[in-house]
Symmetry: C3
Subunit: 343 residues, 3 copies
């Protein structure tokens, strides 16, 4: 795709400053050459602006003076860049059809405008909506429903009865609706608890490679509209995640947790079962959450690295904080005693 | 399925209090309606008991007075619920057979009562036992053996020579028997160490979606009977896990660790290589284990979240505990000096 | 395979001490029997040396006196063992060919000496080099390139335009080149940023089961020659990892991180985005890295387990270190006051 700068400025509601030009790609400030449009959002990259060979740069008004080439001036350059890049990098619509090697149950309903790739298995009573792209080697189990224009990239498993909305994108290795971890103890031996809920996923949800979302035990696991999950995340049974919440890679959310809307959960976070996280909470990476968080804000835990030899010394004290505080109490007592006026 | 309360009470060795009724499903106290049986195990949900519309509730004798409907009284309501739910939600037995799209080596031995799904690959000298369900797009590599009535849900990989017992359930994305991480250093360059052991898994083992269990380097990796692994767990080469131990999602167990029987390892835990964890050990979520644990009990580590601004202030001190304790020692010395009787 | 000890000694540049013998397998000191060669590298296993039934042991000169059988004496016994085991456990070369159930685009170029397994999907313009082994149910998407003698074990996904070098080994469930986690916020709603870079992987790279490496947003994600990644690792978009660096299971590396050469990153580590880790850095397991590390060395963080009851007591103080230090400052002030000479 290519486009004129005037069109692109219009697309993002920005102001074109400088000559109109034909743009055919996006690139970084450092690597862009003629025909490319770049952007400046993170000030760390400001140093590359004056020497850029891009044909145009998307930036904030405050940086306009430093820009040696045409600019599209907007309030949120990264967002404008996202829209322009999407415009210039449109994937050609998949041709509809079903690859002859796909294995389709006769009782599945597949829209005539959907594509089903090679080696994919579609079981009975599945519904695949208009414009869907079901890539190679996916498995869509019985009674699952995929909303219009959703995309299962490749090797995605949707278990039985899972429902997903429109315009979702699921990356390779995603497993939606496997059994949750429900077990009851019978004198030391674990007995499986049937997982008879399912997973219901809203519109515009993107899920990263090898992420797993378990089906509910009795009620459903639910992901709201616009939720974005990165790779290798584990979402336990009966979790509910509110609209437009994002979760970074490697995080684990235990069963029955309720996470609100517009939250941002960092990578490698662990959230214990049955907790509630309210709307607009941010958790920084590797946080450990064992109590509900009912007030919006940023929360953190953990300890950052030090040279091993320092960490080792420090660690000795880290586990003796009770002793440390006992020593302080003793000192306080002694000092109080010493400060008493002589009798 | 449906059943009479009298039958269900008998099934779990419980006492029916109230009228017999026909039960056709399980549900939560809050959502249950006529025909459903519910249970009360976690006291958090006690508040829903008096208003439940369930036809019956499984509960402990101590709560009987509060129950407005028929009850099945037992000592362990969650366990009784598990058994009753299993009874009411029996999956119809898969019809035996081999899907025409499955690719079966002529030297594989597949029981005539097993099912092999579409797109599944079974290599030479594999043995699939009676009543097994091998779902779609699984790969069972040469010489692997699957015990009677085991279920590979979909997209499961069993590598060469892996052996699994009876009644196992492996969820989508599970990989059993990939090479362990064995490398030797040759002046900065890493040389692969062949991984010539395999994985031997007992009976009644359930393994969650996208969990990986590596094959042994020389000896085998072993999971005992009744072990239950949640999703996204990594089990390193030569690990042995004792019978009826459970591991929650996201945990990593490094090579050659021996974990005892009846342990419970929380989610996101890390266990360093070559350690021994004795029987009946519980590790809470995100624990970091760097030494063997030879005494049963509950063990924990880590730091829970605080508002980011508090965490930041606290963190400054967190890494200076040596200094803190030096200050205390200095104070102790000074105070001792001050407390000396005047000469 | 079998070989004479003289050959094996020559293979590893070691000295044979004792009788020559025919060796047909490798095994541990404890389990080895006649015909097996073992090794002693970790001194923890020294106790098994005197009673070994191995026909020969690979060891360091310093332990020669304790060895009851023939020895191959080398400086690095584990490395020599790796080479000898590789020699004795050579996999028979796969016969070239394409399984009839593989789905190959007519515009793919597959070397006549490569093997493509059952159910595998190869899209248009893919190039598969000489001697490659593409196992069952892999997906190699359009324009991806696989260097000579590389091995995709089974169920591996290479997304479009991914390039991998020679002699790579990717284990089941690996996903290379899924979209990175690039999203821009539009008044609370997340907008996808197209991920138009790819992944470029060098020679001799091994990647463990269910590990994911995301494609670059604009530039590429790059893994250098000889990099070894364990299982269940997440590598974010635009990460670069230098040659001969190893990463242990469960680690997450956020976007745009640069890791140097010859690093060793422990398991369960988290590295925040846009950081630089210089060459020869070691990070111990579960480390949390939020700043660049510009000096080689070993770095650590985290807290190891204690009995739960001790941890709980300690944890109360862990989050009040500011208070603790305030108390110390107060004490210091009081003691200074007390130490003032009387006026």
């Amino acid at each position: 795709m290519h486009a004129q700068l005037t069109e692109l400025a219009e697309l993002v509601g920005g102001k074109l400053v400088g000559d109109d030009q034909t743009i055919n790609k996006v690139d970084t400030l450092q690597n862009a050459c003629s025909g490319a449009i770049s952007f400046l959002s993170n000030t760390k990259y400001r140093k590359y602006l004056t020497d850029t060979h891009a044909s145009a740069v998307i930036l904030h008004n405050s940086l306009l003076d430093e820009c040696p080439v045409s600019s599209i001036v907007v309030d949120n350059p990264y967002l404008a860049f996202a829209r322009i890049s999407s415009h210039l990098n449109q994937k050609p619509a998949a041709l509809p059809g079903i690859h002859p090697s796909a294995i389709i149950d006769p009782d599945a309903k597949i829209s005539s405008s959907a594509w089903v790739g090679p080696g994919t298995v579609i079981e009975k009573n599945v519904v695949i909506g208009a414009g869907c792209f079901i890539g190679p080697c996916c498995i869509v189990q019985e009674h699952a429903r995929v909303g219009d224009n959703s995309r299962l990239v490749a090797n995605v498993v949707l278990c039985a009865y899972v429902e997903i909305g429109q315009r979702c994108i699921f990356h390779p290795g995603v497993v939606i609706g496997a059994d949750g971890f429900g077990i009851a103890n019978d004198q030391g031996v674990w007995v499986k608890v049937p997982q008879i809920g399912t997973v219901v996923i809203g519109d515009d949800v993107e899920i990263g490679a090898n992420t797993t979302v378990d089906r509910g035990a009795l009620e459903n696991t639910v992901l709201g509209n616009g939720v974005k999950l990165d790779n290798q995340i584990q979402i336990g049974h009966n979790v509910c995640i509110g609209e437009h919440t994002v979760v970074v890679a490697g995080t684990g959310v235990a069963g029955s947790v309720k996470i609100g809307k517009h939250c941002a959960v960092g990578g490698g976070v662990g959230i214990a079962g049955h907790l509630e996280i309210t709307d607009h909470v941010q958790l920084t990476g590797m946080s450990m959450v064992t109590k509900s968080i009912l007030k919006p804000g940023i929360y953190s835990s953990g300890m950052t690295v030090a040279p091993n030899i320092e960490w080792k010394k420090n660690h000795v004290w880290l586990k003796r904080l009770g002793d440390t505080n006992k020593k302080i109490r003793d000192l306080q007592k002694q000092v109080r005693e010493l400060m008493k006026p002589d009798e």
